[in-house]
Amino acid sequence: MARILVKPRQLVVPGTPLASGVVGGAAPGTRLDGDTLYATVVGLASVRSGDVGIIPLGGPYLPSKGDIVIGIVTAVRGTWIEIDIKAPWSADLGLEGGDDRRPERGWRKGDAVLATVTGMDEEKHAMLDISGMDHGPISEGLLIDVPAPKVARLIGRSGSMVGMIRELTGCTIIVGLNGRVMIQGTPGGQLLAARAVGLVEANAHTHGLTDAVRVFLEGERRD
């Protein structure tokens, strides 16, 4: 039986011993040396039914099958385009099917696109698909950069945080799991929603954030 050496939500840094007498695999953000589990990134320890994992506080986006992401085109290569999804590796979008979902003047470097990760090749390049709902080129609005570890906080439990921002700004908001947020609405609504997103990012670690954001948005709306 593993002996857990950290408290739940304890801040750990690379090298912090997490558990001893461990048998089995190491969760992301940890590594096993002999039978001792160590943290490899800065994060919060999460302890669940005898297992220790890490909630990272920083770090790049690591793609996963099924993730909805917002990418930026970096190169157009004929039958496929290369897309930056804020991961360490570039992603590819094949142009074979779904032609009706491309920009009128064709794909160009700098274009933004909403896509789903359908898988990864052996070198971890994500494969993207734009056949899903609302997928394809993004031609209007603002895109905000948010560190990938803060995306969950921005979405909120069952989408409560982002849903509230949508409701109080009247904007369409799509949160890419790779840390990019699309905001579409009236110019004033867009700016307000962007400021709310900034507020969440700056205070992601505090209590009562949902209420604070609600108060902020309602205050701004009154003016």
Partner: protein, 248 residues
């Protein structure tokens, strides 16, 4: 116009102190095994993937990290961690010829790239002021910046310098964490770098002449100071995330 920045000339003119060890104390009043003060901060540059600032013994270093990322198509150097250093003229005299090579060696042994195939990480060191312990301070800043960027690592590292200084009679003393003046006039400077949690030796650089015994004493002295230096590294993250609460 032929012109050479005359650092060495300036250093010679600054008067060499007669003794660096007086009445059982160092010139700044510290005991031989006492650390000086240091400051470390992370996440200070929003545009970088990771960043850190460290100050110790008159040395100020800013480190920024870009990555992990795939190297450009034309690059074939797959060293995992690539360091560059910028030394502006106002930062002071520093022999930094092989600083980046030494740092790359140490940092490459720390980062874990098994889950990041084909990736590299760029570390840029911006020297703002160079006093003593430049390599140790740069290593600290680079390590914190890498951790800030979320690059997986075996451990953080604690690095510190140990110097051999003379008193007026020529007797040699071994001192931990040199001040600026000790760093300039030491007969020998030894940079030691251990991993914070496991205490593995990652780097050992000795400039100047010292006996085997002196080297061993220096290592022991460094090991004694490592606890406090490790705390400095960890504290920089603790302070930053101090108000952590329940995520809803």
């Amino acid at each position: 116009m032929p012109f050479v920045c005359s650092w060495k000339v300036s250093a010679v003119i600054n008067r060499r102190p007669e003794s660096l060890f007086v009445d059982g104390r160092r010139l700044d009043g510290r005991a031989l095994d006492a650390l000086g003060t240091a400051v470390a901060e992370t996440g200070i540059i929003p545009q970088a993937d990771g960043s850190a600032k460290v100050e110790r013994s008159g040395t100020k270093v800013l480190a920024t990290v870009r990555g992990p990322h795939e190297p450009q198509k034309h690059e074939d150097d797959l060293t995992h961690v690539r360091c560059t250093i910028d030394v502006p003229s106002f930062s002071g005299p520093v022999q930094h010829d092989d600083l980046t090579e030494r740092m790359e060696g140490a940092l490459c042994s720390l980062v874990l790239f098994d889950d990041l195939p084909g990736c590299v990480v760029d570390v840029r060191i911006q020297l703002v002021a160079s006093g003593a312990s430049v390599l140790a301070t740069a290593l600290a800043a680079a390590t914190l910046a890498l951790a800030d960027a979320g690059v997986p690592m075996r451990d953080l590292v604690a690095a510190v310098d140990v110097v051999i200084v003379h008193d007026a009679q020529g007797k040699r003393f071994i001192a931990l964490d040199p001040s600026e003046i000790e760093g300039t006039w030491a007969s020998s400077t030894i940079t030691v770098c251990f991993t914070c949690h496991r205490g593995d030796l990652v780097l050992l650089c000795a400039n100047g002449r010292q006996s085997q015994d002196e080297l061993e004493s220096a290592l022991t002295l460094a090991a004694r100071g490592m606890g406090a230096v490790s705390d400095l590294m960890t504290d920089s993250f603790l302070r930053r995330y101090a108000t952590r609460g329940e995520d809803k």
